[in-house]
């Protein structure tokens, strides 16, 4: 596509237009996916509680999210008089910008990646670290008690689980030998018994896949780790003072982050756009379909856990992060690197 535009309107401009279209082809479907996934989340949650869920707007209620979006769009934007107005409005912008930006390096197919950078995994880590700012600035700028406490909790929770995520990623990098996400997916081709694609099927890496999945839930503040917006304690957490579309940006950002974490689970441990089995006929199905199936499967797991597991206490959350996941993943770095030193590098 880039070449076609370049032949049409010149080299530089052609590249610019083609890249812009590619970006919008990620960004706009992402927002659509988030709207549908919010609907799906509510529907799954309702089904597990033997309720109907949204079923009025459109067939089976599929247009519910769009109706909600229109409603919040027309609502009044309330900026509390005590708030730091600039920061108050910048915080949701940071959250949603960062939630979109991480998708730049996710490979959707063999060559379907916007920015095929060498350090894709580091980029994801850096971007997800910036996400903390959106929340902590919101809590501070609201100048209200509950958002402030919630922001403190959120920051401590996110950094705690980022530590174990960091070590889990080291084990993946050790095995694949690259930070490039497409390279990591390629390294998983025929990984187990020369026929199964995916690090997660490797018994040595499977525990890390589980740790990553649980840490991903904690990192995005999803139930059972949704202490940042525990409604019985903190009203609505750091979003308490927000209203209208500015509030909805946090929703969009949260679900975009959940989808990102599902995609990362798929890409890092379950073969990304590769079919689960390295068998030629399965490659006729486009890679993006495999990735979507995996992402939706993980999203179902997220919803399932949300509907069934009771919320953690804060001390339990911290205990799980620092006393179980951190030593475990640290030990696994030793285990995996030692195993590779003996088997692959022959020491």
């Amino acid at each position: 596509m880039t070449e076609w535009f370049q032949s049409l309107i010149g080299h530089g401009l052609g590249w610019f237009v083609a890249t812009l279209i590619l970006i919008l082809m990620i960004s706009l479907p992402l927002m659509l996916a988030v709207a549908m996934v919010i609907y799906g989340d509510r529907k799954i949650w309702a089904a597990m509680a033997l309720r109907r869920g949204p079923n009025v707007v459109g067939p089976f209620g599929v247009l519910q999210s769009f109706a909600d979006g229109l409603k919040v769009f027309l609502q009044e934007v309330i900026i509390p008089s005590a708030a730091n107005k600039g920061l108050f409005l910048i915080a949701p912008i940071i959250t949603f910008t960062v939630a979109q930006l991480a998708w730049a390096v996710i490979p959707f197919g063999k060559h379907m990646v916007l920015a095929n950078i060498n350090v894709g995994l580091l980029y994801i880590l850096a971007i997800s670290s910036i996400g903390v700012y959106g929340i902590i600035i919101a809590g501070w700028a609201s100048n209200s008690k509950y958002p402030f406490y919630s922001a403190m909790r959120a920051a401590a929770q996110m950094v705690s689980y980022e530590v174990s995520i960091g070590f889990v990623l080291v084990t993946v990098v050790l095995w694949s030998g690259t930070f490039n996400l497409s390279g990591i997916v390629e390294a998983q081709r025929a990984h187990v018994f020369g026929i199964i694609n995916g690090f997660g099927f490797n018994p040595l890496l499977f525990p890390m896949a589980v740790v990553f999945l649980i840490s991903a839930m904690a990192e995005t503040g999803r139930a059972p780790f949704d202490l940042t917006e525990a409604e019985s304690e903190l009203v609505a957490g750091y979003q308490t003072e927000y209203s209208s579309m500015v509030f909805a940006l946090y929703w969009l950002g949260e679900y975009a982050n959940v989808l990102l974490m599902c995609a990362l689970n798929a890409v890092l441990f379950w073969g990304g756009w590769l079919p689960p089995i390295d068998w030629a006929p399965l490659y006729h199905i486009p890679g993006i379909v495999w990735l979507f199936i995996k992402v939706l499967a993980f999203f179902f797991v997220f919803s399932w856990v949300k509907a069934t597991v009771p919320r953690y206490r804060y001390d339990q959350l911290m205990r799980l992060g620092w006393k179980i996941f951190l030593p475990l993943s640290l030990f696994w770095v030793f285990l995996v690197s030692g195993y590779l030193m003996i088997t692959r590098y022959g020491v």
């Binding site: 008690k145 070590f167 930070f179 940006l249 690197s337």
Partner: protein
């Protein structure tokens, strides 16, 4: 024949462009409703509406009050371990090239970190009562 550069900067340009697009979309989502508000007349601020949230009464105290020092402790521990992870990344990608010496020295480093971690655990820095 030019050697392929280690860092392909041209791959980072789309990210910069994406940053602009993402900022524009999020900014539009914040600014547009405020304009629509003014036009449709839904924006009717009054002092009670603009007051900070409290359960039906004026707030007792300043919200920027003291908070638990443990959050600070978690932040410090995070810096230690995240930095440690940052040391591990370059080591992890080049494990094949550095041989037994490279592996052993990192394991030594991990053991030292483990001793520090055990100390922090023993001191109760990881407890959250």
């Amino acid at each position: 024949m030019r050697e392929k550069p280690l860092v392909d900067l041209s791959q980072y340009l789309p990210i910069l462009l994406f940053l602009g697009v993402a900022l524009a979309i999020s900014g539009a989502f914040v600014v547009l409703p405020m304009i629509v508000n003014r036009l449709t007349g839904t924006a009717k601020p009054n002092p009670d509406k603009l007051a900070e949230y409290e359960c039906g009464f004026p707030a007792f105290e300043d919200s920027r009050a003291q908070f638990d020092v443990r959050f600070y402790l978690v932040a410090i521990l995070f810096i230690v371990f995240d930095l440690e992870a940052a040391f591990l990344y370059p080591w992890a990608v080049s494990l094949g090239g550095i041989g037994l010496t490279g592996w052993a020295s990192m394991m030594l480093f991990l053991v030292e970190l483990g001793i520090g971690f055990a100390y922090a655990w023993k001191k109760g820095a990881l407890d959250w009562e």
